[in-house]
Symmetry: C2
Amino acid sequence: MELAGVADVAATSLVNVAQKRSYAIFAANDDAADAMRKAGLTLAGNLTDGLRSADLVVDTSPKGITARNAEMYRSLNVPFIVNGGEEHELTGHSFSALANYRETLSKQAVRVVSCNTTALCRVVTALKRSSVGIADIFATIIRRAADPVRTKSGPVNAIVPVLGGLSHHAPDVLTVIPDIPIASLAAVVSSTLSHVHMVRIQFKAPVDRDTLLRSFKSTPRIVLVSGERGIVDNAHVLELHRDLLRPRGDMWEVAIWEDSVYVEGNMAVLSYCVHMESIAVPENVDAIRAMLELERDPGISIRRTDEALGCYREDADYGSL
Amino acid sequence: MELAGVADVAATSLVNVAQKRSYAIFAANDDAADAMRKAGLTLAGNLTDGLRSADLVVDTSPKGITARNAEMYRSLNVPFIVNGGEEHELTGHSFSALANYRETLSKQAVRVVSCNTTALCRVVTALKRSSVGIADIFATIIRRAADPVRTKSGPVNAIVPVLGGLSHHAPDVLTVIPDIPIASLAAVVSSTLSHVHMVRIQFKAPVDRDTLLRSFKSTPRIVLVSGERGIVDNAHVLELHRDLLRPRGDMWEVAIWEDSVYVEGNMAVLSYCVHMESIAVPENVDAIRAMLELERDPGISIRRTDEALGCYREDADYGSL
């Protein structure tokens, strides 16, 4: 897989980084081209030039722009991926690698679901692996205020409930895994590091903790962290991944606190940390592979992506996805 | 009811405020007395002098100290109240005014439950008023990092899940309301203003939203606030109570976001704001009235307290408590 280039509307610092890394740069529109050249960028052309040289485009534009771009991609017959902020209807197919890779083969338009939904989809997939029927899942999403660089956003010192009923996260899971009884609430808090989910599951029969832990351990893109060993909050989880020398300190996995996993009869609870900036990166890579049918087997694609990124786990079971 | 005096171990700024307000000041131990006098306080005696002049003592000492003090109160036959940080076993009776006033009459030792448990007890009482059987309550407690003046505490930028299983809040509700199916999880976040609870209730039969809202409106010490009218987070809830000129900006009520109340078949969700500093203040007043049998009827006591504080609501039903 090769990155054909990056398109943007301005000579931002990030586009300069892309040029330093020798990626081809395209101007997303003609007005932008002049300003970008004046700012010292060497352009490989405009967006349509970029699209001609690419087999597929991943659109990460702001909401509204993406929908307009989608029309263009369709008219040019370029397969495209949009991300979780967009509506399911924009592509008609939503994707999470562990859950519905096979249904994504040869699709021309795919939405990779949001960070929170990606995490929920992985956890639900792992829960289903435990082979005990699920009667009810209720998730509380404690959302980060903003990504670290969104310094104009808040809150600085507040808790902001998502009002107007249930949150959109559980319905969003249903676009990927349609047969799961799930509901969710959400609140935004004053943290920039990650989201945290607190989930309660009611199973149809008693479940034991070891079975659940085995399911989590055997599922790719889930890691267990331990409060007992000092990883007591999301700050420690992210710091751990910086210490592991992850590029940008990214954490592509869902990090479940092993000591949050608690079972009482048919009920289980668990909490985990979701790095909003990076968790959907491997999903985008797998979506590309599925859409272009570079690989038909989900386990082989997911493993290849994890190996390339550096989050392959020998003890995870890539075979039965 | 008259405040016989305040005992402390040092001439803190707060004790000076108490003296300025003409309350009698007692030294909590003999070592403290000298230092407090040197700092300019006029002492009315030591703690045992204070206890002799009082019909009852409310102990708000740090954990550990309270347990030792309790032995002294018992040996001096002074009825006493401890607060939510203490174990239920220290007094054998836990109290929340709306829930178990009658069982508290003439008790010699009472624990007024914590801020979070007080809020849960009030909400459960209101839910029971809706007359639809409750099958399951699951609460996620989003805890404030620290009270505003605890400036050495954190977190500044993190989400800290309570690990090791369920949180202590639901079991604590059971010390007051023993017959309710309830479980809870908790996480600490970077806010100093209040706690926020997000609760999901499964009823034994379908419930309608208006019935629930009526139950909340008719329950004392619960107020409804509206995100639609601008009260979109806990910062706005507390600001509202400052604008209402509440002393210290205190909010003695549970503030439920009306637009968080959502019903789907047998299930309801709601979110509310809990002012940790002040919510248990009226409960302490009622506990005193019950323990000393100054009033045997819960509704009359609760109404008297609310009138005295300034949070009496004409549309609340004090009659059927």
